[in-house]
């Protein structure tokens, strides 16, 4: 599988997407990540392993703790065409096009009045 294929495969699971959304707010340990889910820590660890093998997250060594965090390159590769952030900006600027069009029509009316 190409890196992109394995990223898509990793993202096909809703629990893994929820884990990524949580990690987007900052690094977290397996215990932190498992808390909101009704599944066991080993199951969470398995999902994290899939995400790490897909290159989407990485493990930091901090003493005895092993917090997981997003790999910024991976996030950037994905958000470029998927993120709500981008779609919201596109929608907003499409509305601005319409407002600017109306502003220019009003100006033309004022000029000819």
């Amino acid at each position: 599988m190409s890196p992109l294929d394995s990223a898509f495969a990793a993202l096909s699971d809703p629990t893994r997407r929820a884990l990524l959304a949580r990690l987007a707010q900052g690094e977290a340990t397996v215990q932190d990540l498992a808390r909101p889910f009704a599944i066991s820590q080993p199951a969470i660890s398995h999902h994290l392993k899939v995400l790490e093998e897909a290159g989407l997250i990485e493990t930091r060594v901090a003493g005895t703790a092993r917090p997981r965090r997003l790999r910024p390159e991976a996030v950037e590769a994905i958000w470029g065409w998927m993120s709500e952030f981008r779609r919201e900006m596109e929608a907003r600027y499409a509305r601005l096009d319409a407002v600017l069009d109306e502003m220019m029509q009003e100006e033309r009316r004022d000029d000819t009045a």
Binding site: L20, E88, L96
Partner: protein, 157 residues
């Protein structure tokens, strides 16, 4: 000609560019006049901006409040530098309700034929704050993307 371009820069920057058919004076006005902002900066589908404070001078306040009739969220900020028709520098943060890290935004309006090239340079305090901003709504965004992908695959089948 109007396609949005989005790219990251360095550790914590984001650059957005977009062309508009109107000249810089109009695009600038639409970015600072409350009555105009309320017509396009309305948020997700079904939301409006009932409160819009914009005081375009150095130190001037920014406050946008969005509502869908029941729920709401808001943004606050301050203008730092203003060069009317050409350039705006401001800082902003979302309140969800906890404030997000400050986003320093430099907006430039450059003549482009009879239209305008708009360029936003956003500077977040660190890589983590940028990832959080870009990942906003990521989960729902992905669901929507998968739904679209499935529809396309069904059409192709």
């Amino acid at each position: 000609m109007t396609r949005l371009e989005l790219k990251t820069e360095g550790e914590a920057g984001v650059i957005v560019t977009r062309r508009f058919a109107a000249p810089p004076a109009q695009v600038y006005r639409a970015h600072v006049e409350p009555a105009l902002l309320q017509r396009w900066c309305t948020g997700p589908d079904g939301w409006t901006m009932p409160v819009c404070i914009s005081e375009p001078h150095p130190g001037g306040r920014i406050r946008f409040e969005w509502s869908d009739g029941t729920a709401g969220f808001f943004l606050t900020g301050e203008y730092l530098e203003i060069d009317p028709g050409r350039r705006i520098v401001h800082v902003e943060r979302m309140h969800l309700p906890d404030p997000t890290p400050d986003n320093r935004v430099t907006t430039t309006f450059t003549p482009d034929g009879t239209g305008t090239l708009l360029r936003l340079v956003m500077q977040l305090p660190n890589a983590e704050a940028r990832a959080a901003m870009l990942a906003t709504g990521m989960d729902e965004g992905m669901e929507a993307s998968y739904a679209r992908l499935e529809a396309q695959l069904e059409d192709a089948a």
